[in-house]
Structure formats: C-alpha cells, structure tokens
Amino acid sequence: MNRQWWGGLLLVSLFPGAVLAQQNNRTSLFGGFKANNQATVSSEQPVSLPADHGPHNGYQIEWWYLTLLLENDAGEPFNYQFTLFKFARPEMASNWGEGAVWMGHSSLHTHTSHYFDEKFAQQGTGIAGFSTEPVNFFIDNWQWQSEQDATLFPARLNATSGPAGITLALTADKPFIKHGQQGVSFKTGDGDYRSYYYSQPFINASGQIKVEGEPHQVSGIGWYDHEWTSQLVDEDALGWDWFSLHFDDGRKLMAFTMYVDGGEAYTTGTLISAHGESLTLGPDELQISPLKTSLVAGRDIPVEWQITIPAQQIDISTKAFKTDQWNDSRFPYYEGAVSFGGSHAGKGYMELTGY
C-alpha cells in the first residue's frame, strides 16, 4: 500500500465528516440578539417597491447588503462589502433612543490587505438610521444617499474602512429581483423559516478608493440585497452558505444553503437572465457542495465549492479570492470575493456564517 493510497483513503474518510460538520458544528450567528418581535413574513403581503426600501420596525433583523467587485486602472482588484444591519432591541427603548440597534460593516480586500470596520449605533439618536426624500442610510459618517427621491439608484456611497476612504457612484439599469414568491424567500423545506428578500444584481460602480493616502480610480460591478425577517436570529438558525455570482455571459445567480438545528439543510436560489428575468430554483434543481476547506481564524472554512444546476447545464467550481476573508466582528463570519470556472466563468461574492 503506497502513501498516495493512504492519503486518498484519509481524504475520503475525513471529507464526509467535514461535510457533516457544516451543520453539526455550526453555532447560531445572531442567537444572542434574539428579541420578542414576531412580525411574520407572509406570502399574502409580498415585497412592494419602492415602499419596502426602508426599514421595517416589526421584524427582528434586517440588512442592506452591497458587494462590489472593483478594479483600479491597473487592473488591481478592490473587493468591497458595505452592509447595514438593524436589530430589534425593544428592551433598550428609552428616552435616549429607540429599541433598535444599527450595525455597519465596511470591508475592503486588496490582494495584500484587508481593511475592516464595524460600527454600532442606536436608532433614534440621530447617529444611525434611514430617511427618505432622498433615500438616505447612514451610520456615523458612512452614508448611502440616492440621487432620486424614492428609489435607491443612482446613489452615492461614502464610507471608510480603517485607513481606506471609499467614495463611489452607484447605478443600476435593470429592475430589482424579488426572490422566492414575490420576495418571500423560504429558508427551510417546511416554510417555517423565511424572509422578505429582494436584490439588485445589475449594479455598476465607479469612484475613488483611497488606501493609506493613495487614491485609486476604480470601477466594476456589484450586487445589492435587502432582507428582513424575524426568524434568522433564532438559536436554531445555525447559519448559511450564500453566493451571489455574476456570470460572464451576463446572467446572475443567487444561491444558498440554510442550516437549521434539527432540520435538513435547505438549498434554494434564483437564476437571473442578463435581461433581468428570474427563475426560482428549488432544492431538487440546485446543489451546493464544499470541495475544500482551509483553516481560517481557527476554523475549518470551505473555501472552494461546487454549484450545479443540471437543468441549466451549469456546473461550476468557485474559488475564494483569498483564503482569509474572515470578518472579525461581534458576529464573526466569512465574506469575500470568489471566482468560478467550469461550465461557466465569472466572479462573485460568498458569505459563510455559523462557523
């Protein structure tokens, strides 16, 4: 028996364990932030735009997520994530502020560096929140301000990430995509876990990123998500593996697997044509499987994945832009750019939580 054979046997024997660990070793990401808000996600009340761009106070958690794949004039990548979270914290309501806390994440990856900033602020104090006419999200000096009254794009984004300053113009030339049933996205097979979820995957971004005093003119593409629910902060919600992919042929794919304690992992997604028509994919139509794990921040993180959609002849393998794209925040998670090849090529973003 040679060493190669032993190595293969070892991989075969370990790998199912690693796959199983995707679920068994997960811990709830937002478990400690559970509140008693129980506004439900109902198919009878689908997502309505532009009314739903703003915050929804009856829900436990809500986020506005922007991921951008940018390059400077020299072709150097600048992958940027900007996210605002809103958590319901009714016990904090006082004469000082309202019962909700905003959290902001700003994460910039270059080939050699990772700049990450996190901010917290209480709603009602004037430090973080949302205003209309024009649409404006803010936390401290981080601001997303649209140039039109009721909609999000075109907009300007000003933020910082450690020593990096980000000033970008964002445009979108295609409609918003509502996932699931008119924006009601199911996270488990029994439908107990769900969220309101819509995206804008056709974003063009350009502007300046100044890193440690050196300005870079950048441009690229991006993806925007807005999601709100009351279930994903449950102790039982163990996390998810999520992808937003930009195909070179202009198509877009959102795909995720959701893990719930005591339940089966649930995989679903939305395939979006280059013109903006969407197709919801069920668990039987879409498979997401880890291919390789790496030790990141003391955890085994699957950094390479296989995604297949047999009906669409899609069979791709994703690879992380960098192995370590760990956001060491209060709720730590993996968020970073990926590239993919196989039946199709392209690039996108991957988010792994609960590890």
Binding site: M92, S94, W96, I127, F138, Q143
Partner: protein
Amino acid sequence: MSRAMRVLILALRTQLATYRARFWEPLLIIVAIFIASAGLTAVTLINAGASSQLKQFTLGDVPVNFHIIPRNENKPLRRSDYAELRRQGVNALVAYTQTGDRLAVDTVTLFNLLPMANRAASQQNSFAQQAALNGIEDINQFYQGDVTLQTHQLSGLLVMGALSTEQYALLEESLPAHLQLAPFVLTSSANNLSDSFSLNLWAMGALMVLVSIFIVFNAFNLLLAARTPVLVKLRQLGVGQALLLRVLQLEMLILALVGAVGGVIAGASLVSAITPLLSNIYRFLLDGQFSGGQFSTPRLMLLAVVFCAIAVMVMGLLIRQRLAHSLARRSYLVAAFKRRFKPVYNVWLLLSLAIVALGAWLVASQREALLYIGLVLIAGCTTVVLLMPQLMSLVARRVSTTKPLLHWSMHNAVSLSQRTRLAACAFFIALAANIGMNVMVDSFRQATEQWLEQRLFAPFYIYTDFDGDLSAEEGTPVPLLARYGKDVRVNGQTLELRSFPDGAEYQQYLMLDNQLPSAWSAFHAQRGVFINQQLAYRQGLNTGDVVSLPLNTGLQAFEIVGVYPDYGNPKAQVLLPEALLCRDYALISAYAAFASPAEQAALESWLKARNESARLIPRETLIEQSMRLFSRTFLTTDTLNLITMLVAALSFFVSITLLVMDIKPQLLLLRSVGVSPFRIKLSLFSQYCFIAVSCALLALPFALLLAWLLVNKVNRFAFHWTYPLILDPMIIMQSLLIGLGLLLLLMALPLGRLQARFYSQQEAV
C-alpha cells in the same frame, strides 16, 4: 514737597505716634487679617495640591483624557450635537451623563471604540450586560420614566483614547461655537471625597474669615474710639475730613499689607509643615494623593494682594461710614430705639428660628448642608443680638435694689450685651462650631472604636504580599482565615468585593445598621450579600434591593440582606460568602489568625519562612494604630477650631477694652462713692461672665444642631456614611469650659489695666 503732601505725612505720623500708647488696636487688625489670609492661603494650597494629582480615567481599558462640554449653561449640549459631530466623522465620542456617582454612557457607540478583545468578551450578552461587566451603566437605563433629555441634559461627550496635539487641534476646530474641549475628570468615588474634603476646608476657611471680619470691625471701632481726641484736634488745626479719611485709609493699607503678606507666608509654611499629614489623610481617608511643597511665589504674592485688597476695601467702607460719626459724637444704638422695634425683632427672630427648625429636613446634598450650617449660624447670631439682651434683662430684673452694686452690675451687663453684640456673635459662632465639631468627632471616635472592637474578632491579623493563599497551606501552626477580595467596577464605580467567614459563629462580629429577618440564611445560601453604607447611600440601595455583581461566572444577581457601617473606607463594598469569593478572588487583604500569645512566636517564624515582609499584628495594636490614625486625621480640624476660638476670644477682648474706656466715668463715680477697686473689678468681671455664659448657653442648642447636621448631612453626603450622634455631657462641658476659660482669661487683661488707670486718674485728680 507740596504742602498737601507735608500735611498728609504729618497727619500720618501723628496717627502712627498713637501706637506708642495704644498698640493693641492696630495689632489686632493685623492679627485678624493675618489669620484670615493665612487660613485662606492654607485652604487654597491644600486644595491645589490635592487636585494636581488626579488619576487617569479609563473606560473599557481605553483612556479618557478629554471631554466635550458646553461653554455655558445657556446653550447646553444636545443629542443632535452628538449625532452631528459623529456624522462629520468625529467618531471617537461617547455621550455620557452624570448625576452624583451615577455615570451612564452610550454603551452602543462605546462598543465601537473598545479593543476587540473587550468586544468579543461575550457575544451572547446585551449591550447593557456587557456594559455592566465593564463597570459602566448604559445610558438607556438612566433615561427611563420621568428622566428625559429635557430634565437631565447630557453632561458631555467623552473623547476616547489619547489625543495627539494635531488631533486635539483638529477636534477643537470641528466643534460648534457653543461646545468646548476640556480635560475630563471623573467626579465620583475618590474624587468626590477629595471634593468634599476641599469643600469642608473652604467652609472652615470661610468661618475663619467671618470671625476675622468681626474682629477687624471691632478693632477698628476701638481704634476710632481711641483716636477720636486726636482726630478732633487735627480737625481743629485745619486738617480737612477728606485728608483724614485718606490718612486712615493709608494706615489701613499698611496694616492690611503687613497682615496679608505675613498671613500668606504663614499659611504656606503651615501647609508645607503638614504636607506629610495631609498626604496620609488623602491616601488613607480619601483614596487620593496630595502633593505639597509646590508653591509658586508669584501666585502667593497675588493671593496676598487679593487678601489685602479685600481687607482694605472692607475697612475703607467702614472708615467712610464711621469717620463722620466719630468726629461728631459716639454713636451707639440707643436701647429705647430698640425697644420700640422689639416686636418686629421678635417676629424676625421667631421666623429665622422656624427656618432653622424646618430646613434641617430639607437638606439633600453636601452643598446644601454647608449652606444650611451658614443659615444656622446666621439664625444663631440673630438670636444672640435680639434675644440675649431680653433674656439677660429677665434675670437682671430679679436682682433686688437692696444690693445696689449687683443691681447696677446686672443692668449694666444688659446694656453692655447690646454694645458687645459683634464680639458676642463671633464668640457664638466659634463656640457653636467648636462644640458641634467636638460632639461630632467624639461620636465618630466612639462609633469607630466600638466598630473596630466588634469587627476584629481574631487575636492576630496577618498582612502580607505573599502570592498565594496562606490559609490553604499545609501545616499552618494555627488556623488562618483569609479575607478574599476582588475589586470590580459596577455602574462606573469601583466596588470592593470582600469575603466574610461562613460559620454562624462569626455573625455576631458583623455590625449591621439594618438587615432582613432571613439575612444570614440568604447570605449562607449565596443568594444574599451585605453592602456597606457607602454603597447604600451612593446608589440609593437598601435591604431587599438586588445588586448585580460581575463574578467569573458572569453577572450574578444578589439580594441585599443587610447594610453595615464601614468607617473610614472611601469605597463602596460588598461582603460575599467566603465560599463564593474564595473561588474567584484577586487579592487577600488580610488573614485572621487564631493564635494564643504562646503561639505567636511559632506563627511568626512560620510566616517569615514563607514571606519576609509578612507582618503579624495583635488585635489590640491594630485598634490602637487605627485610633491613632483617627486622631491624626482630626488634628487639622482641631487646630483650625482652636484658632477660630482664639480669634473669637480676641474679638471679645477687644470689645471689652473698648467698653472699659466708655464706662470709665461711671467707674470713677463708683470709686468716688467708696466702692473699692477690687469690688469694681469683681463687678465688671461678673458682668462679662454673665454675658459670656448667656452667650454660651444660647450657643449650646445651635451647637447640637450643628453636630446633628455634620453627622447626618455633611458626613452623609461627603463621605457616604453616618454613625449615631452621641451626646456626652463631659465632652459638651469640656468644650464649653475651654471656650469660656479662654475668653475669661483674656478678659482679665483689661481688668488688670483698669487698676493702673484708676490710680493714674486719681493721681491726676
């Protein structure tokens, strides 16, 4: 030299020439100004020395050196200012509000600024819980119910982290006009104590100045009375009244300069001399630091000039008022004039006494308590001025006319009491303050002694820096009981957690102010804790309330089952069962050693083998050392008290001298009808005694009220502990007799001088 100048110099020389015959008046003025400026200099320097050594404040291990505060109260700091600054990118700011010892901060934004290690301490905890673990109160807990941003404005914005000069300048530039950047000093716990001590010192200084003003006023009256013949002659020689006024003002300036400069130098020397003592007081009693001996000469001279200017201003006003009267006739209040208004005075008197009686219950802060003490003294002085002659008159009326000398003496005493009202007020203030302080200190001493006797239950105590638990060592020659401790921060305040032995036999050694019926069972079951008065008063806690303590298992809630006195401890403290704290302690403050005297040597050698610096102290020695420290602590106040009393007695002495001059014709008349000089002196002395004793008797109830205020209000709000007021008749009598003794001793001096005058007058006749 011009004629005017020559006249001025001549007039001044004429005035100064009177010093050869009458040196008491100018000397007393110098002494009074000297004492006032020495007292104020000492107080200023002590407070400056104390505030120069403030500790750096940190929040979640991040230093906080500056804060942003409003420039004035008219335009307060608003939440919108906070938001606007943060939205401009000034993100290292955390809003806070402070009321008393409660420091509440915006923990949500604070969380951004803490090191990552502190942030990730517990993902599962809420912001408020995490804040509590870091010893901070969440601002949301503060602004609840009726407490709003309108009723309690933001105190400021903490600037987190060290600032470079450039950052400081940038931050200052970004501030709106109504806000400013200022050094941040946390006014809680130890700093509060220092502030309280400072405030008490200022109050004492003010008392000394008040008494000094009385003495200056009296001495000046005396001086003018003695100078009147000279002034009249100068007027007759053609010297104008305006020039005489200038001459007197110049003379006062010289006297004030001598007194003020001397006083400032003496005050500085006093502080320099007692610096080691003050260092001990600040270290042991106030948990702070004192740096003495750093006096700036220009600053001291500036002080002298300020004191001098104040003294001259006061005397200048008096000169202007008095000079015209002095040159015309002696001006005293006529008794008949007073009698006409007696009902009005009595209404005033009753009103002020009613204020005194009612006000005590309304006092709710240290500042109010000190102001109230001032009010009590004013009410007391009013009583002395208005009631004392009436009461004395009641006594005098009972003296039969068949004893003419006694009858005259008593009635003359009533008349004299009206003329000596200023001196009587000074004496009243000094005596009331002295008795009040003595009763307070004595009550404190007795309470401390009793507390120490009860609390120290073991025959020996061990103090060591041994890194480990000696009580857990094998082969200890005698049983050892460790006092485990851990200092934590709760609601922005340092809290001492200390263990108390678990056995039921130790229960008798914990003196408790109040306790729940099930206190000890809850304590032993690790559900209940005892808290000291300092914690109870500072945070308004009582038995039955719940306190959350950060232990190694996280925040743990305990019911408060009892409150205990903890004299001399500036910090808030919680007693936990030994079984609980021995698993989670950071220090062992001491060991109780149950050794007999025969076992002492063996225990000492065992200790030396483990730790060279270990000290084994017998219980009695510990009590003696504590009481010695106690006495040294009150040495400062005792000294200031005695000085005040001396000043008051001097004031009285000055008045008596003046009166002796006034009644000289009457005394000569008595002498001419055959009354012997001895009987005249005896009569005069009995009159002074009558006035002094009447004043002292009136001072007594006010003194007891002062003692009650000092114990239950000033002490309560300054140090956050109280003790029972013990009225020991011996202490009260002792204070009374010392005051009266000092006074009567000084009064004997003018009587001695009187004899010489009689003989000289008789010779002249």
